[in-house]
Amino acid sequence: MENIILGLTHVLQPYNLLICAAGLFVGVLFGALPGFSATMGVAVFIPFTYVMEPEAAMLLLAGIYCGGVYGGSIPAVLIGIPGTPASVPTSMEGRPLTKRGESGRALAMVTLSSCTGGVVSAFALLVGAPLLALIAMKVGAPEQMMIAIFGLSVVCTLSFDNLLKGLLVGFVSLLIATVGQDPILGFPRFTAGFYQLTGGVDAVPILIGLFSLPEVLKMLETAETEKGDVSRVSKMVLHLKDITSNIGNFIRSAIIGVGIGIIPAAGPDIASFFSYNEARKSSKHPEEFGNGSMAGIIASETANNAVTGGSLIPLLTLGIPGSAPAALFLGAMIIHGMRPGPLLFTQNAAEVYTLLVGFIVINIMMFFVGWIYCKASGKILLLPKSVLATTIVVLATVGAFSINQNMWDVLMMYVAGIVGYIMVKNDYPLSPVALALLLGKILEQGLSQTITLYSGKPLEVLTRPLFVVFLLFTIFSYAYPFIKNAKDKKKAAAKED
């Protein structure tokens, strides 16, 4: 408690509050520009933090991180291009709402959901970190493998009507995820002699290309005939009914987000897909999903921002980064002489509690910063398509290059974009690619480690309580569509009688 008050007094210093706000403004911008991401924002600003006070440095990075995860959903709603992969589900629901002239309602809800998710995760981090660290430590290779298998079941949900095409895309993407060094033996596979592929196919440039270029090409198809499909930006309003009818959704999504955050290797992108999937399954109106469902937006946005706090738990308590930006945090902390681990909370109490309390303040502040951005960015709908399309291509190119400063990634981005356009034209869903590329590596590594650990005694793996829990979830997740189908048939039959 003493430490919390100490942290609070640090955060509330005007200079530190200013740093939080600056971080948010930068972060939202990085998130909102297609091709740019929270990770990139944190990476760009890390060298600046070397010369700052440790507390201010942590707050700046936290602001960029939270803002970046949030910012990705602004272009997702307005133009259907997710600023970051974590906003892909948001784009599937937000874009139809914008077309109906309800962009303001969607953006307001995005902002509220993101803040809710962020604040919940910040409290989880502040209050439950030591306890949740125990869970994080229990997540070993078998658990990670099970989560990846569970996650792949989401492919079925994302395929909507065309299950076969969705599964095909997911399967091919899983194969692509195996390109590069074998995680155990270390030899390169399927690289066709390209040394650039030694480390595997980097998911980030692929996803940039896949989710921005097809939209650009679609814009160009009609560039001369239409000015824009939305002529008016609607007012930013929160509908009370949208909130009250989704209380359960908020809670579930926040828990999923924090949970995924704790698990090393799974980040905000995976959390938003999971949460979206669960929301659709438990929705009374699943047919609304894909056509502008408010519940879908809430699920995706609450969960991806709830990851932010969650992913700092394994980082602070075990020194394991739970997401790519968290890995950058680790570097910044070491530079400032803080060594993440079980003793961090006592050895560096002042810095840590400033960060933890700051996380809450940042997420509350994000609501206002976000609101300002949303109001201003609505205007991009009025831009001529030619200008918008060109800007997006430039941003995507710069973004793909700046991750690794490597021209190969730019090439990969364009290839992915063209393939994506062909897929969209032929009604192949794009989201399973994201899921399979992100989960493929976790799955392969988890599987081979589990086999090494339990070779010759496969049933002993069932002595791990968390593994069993995840196993049951997975079985249910795969069986659910069949159960539901059977129920629906029964109902239909009963009606006919």
């Binding site: 995680p183 040394y195 650039q196 530079i335 681990g341 590594q445 480690q449």
Partner: protein
């Protein structure tokens, strides 16, 4: 509203300029030096402009932090700015390929560690080899700490070897990655003691030691900075440090040699320049880095980050560089069988 819009536009423009500058510097720099090659040849007025160091791994990682710490102090003695370029991808091979193709004028250096001269054996399509680089300085040699899980009952080297011999190929060893310094430690230790471990490969040393802390795996060999938190928290049992002498930060952990096994293993880090860089310039660079390395503030900062400082330059480092290449080549070839 209007001012807000104007503000946002300005911020946007700022970010664009920033990112353009970041990209511009990396794409234009390699081409610039070639034009000034003739004058750089003499080396008497070196350095006339910014020196860049290519780090083939991400900002904030172990390699990046170690280079930045040294570069910060070297700027003063060099009399020029040093810019770190994180050119990542391809498990570090993309950045080194770019370094090998850079103009040999001393304005482009690169981070190099013990395994890199053998990358062409490990990966497909690598054009560079041991001859593509001139060693400039070695500035650190990081020891590993061997740790055991509490469950395993292993408390020192003797009981480790005993347990490994009693269950050949059954004792699990968590590594931070395939073909990393962790893996080479395993190969050489197995050879030395005539034992065999079961490999468990993780993404990084922190994940590896956590698997030991949770009891899933018996042993791990993380670097000092990765090991300290779990050792201090009492979640793992420290067995030995792999350097020749004890390390200040963890001075109560004995070396392997003290426990009667004649074995040591460290991961050295250094800076190299493309082959063809004039000797005079290499010497000047080495002078600057040596002065930085001797700065007590640098020493303190490096120790805090968990690196054991060791310095080699000139003929000593050149010879070590070539010997090291042969040692690792032999280990890789034995591993490939």
């Amino acid at each position: 509203m209007k001012t807000m819009k104007r503000l946002l536009t300005m911020v946007l423009a700022g970010v664009m300029v920033l990112s353009m500058a970041a990209c511009g510097s990396s794409s234009s720099q390699p081409s610039q030096p070639s034009g000034e090659n003739a004058s750089a040849g003499s080396g008497s007025d070196f350095p006339k402009k910014i020196v860049q160091i290519i780090v083939p791994f991400g900002a904030g990682g172990g390699a990046d932090i170690s280079v930045r710490t040294l570069a910060k102090y070297a700027e003063e003695s060099l009399g020029q700015k040093i810019v770190i370029q994180n050119i990542t991808g391809g498990s570090g091979t993309v950045g080194l390929t770019q370094l090998a193709g850079s103009a040999p004028d001393g304005y482009t250096l690169g981070y190099f560690a013990c395994t890199n001269s053998n990358d062409s054996l490990l990966f497909d399509g690598i054009q560079y080899g041991v001859d593509s680089f001139v060693p400039v300085v070695e500035y650190s040699a990081d020891p590993h700490i061997i740790v055991a899980s509490k469950k395993s009952g292993i408390t020192d080297m003797a009981s480790l070897v005993e347990a490994a011999k009693a269950n050949p190929g059954e004792l699990t060893l968590a590594l931070g990655g395939a073909w990393t310094s962790h893996d080479f430690l395993r190969i050489s230790l197995e050879e030395k003691e005539g034992i065999q471990f079961k490999r468990m490969v993780y993404q990084g040393g922190a994940e590896a030691i956590t698997s030991v802390a949770s009891g899933d795996v018996d042993l791990a060999v993380p670097f000092v900075s990765e090991a300290i938190p779990q050792i201090e928290a009492g979640n793992v049992v420290p067995i030995a440090i792999t350097s020749a002498e004890r390390f200040d930060v963890v001075s109560d952990i004995p070396t392997i040699k003290e426990q009667g096994v004649d074995y040591e293993h460290t991961m050295w880090r250094g800076l190299v320049a493309p082959t063809g860089t004039p000797q005079e310039i290499v010497d000047k660079l080495a002078d600057a880095f040596e002065a930085a390395w001797n700065n007590p503030e640098y020493q303190a900062e490096a120790k805090e980050a968990g690196t054991m400082t060791e310095f080699k330059r000139g003929e000593e480092f050149e010879q070590f560089y070539l010997e090291n290449h042969e040692t690792y080549k032999a280990m890789i070839e034995s591993g490939l069988e």
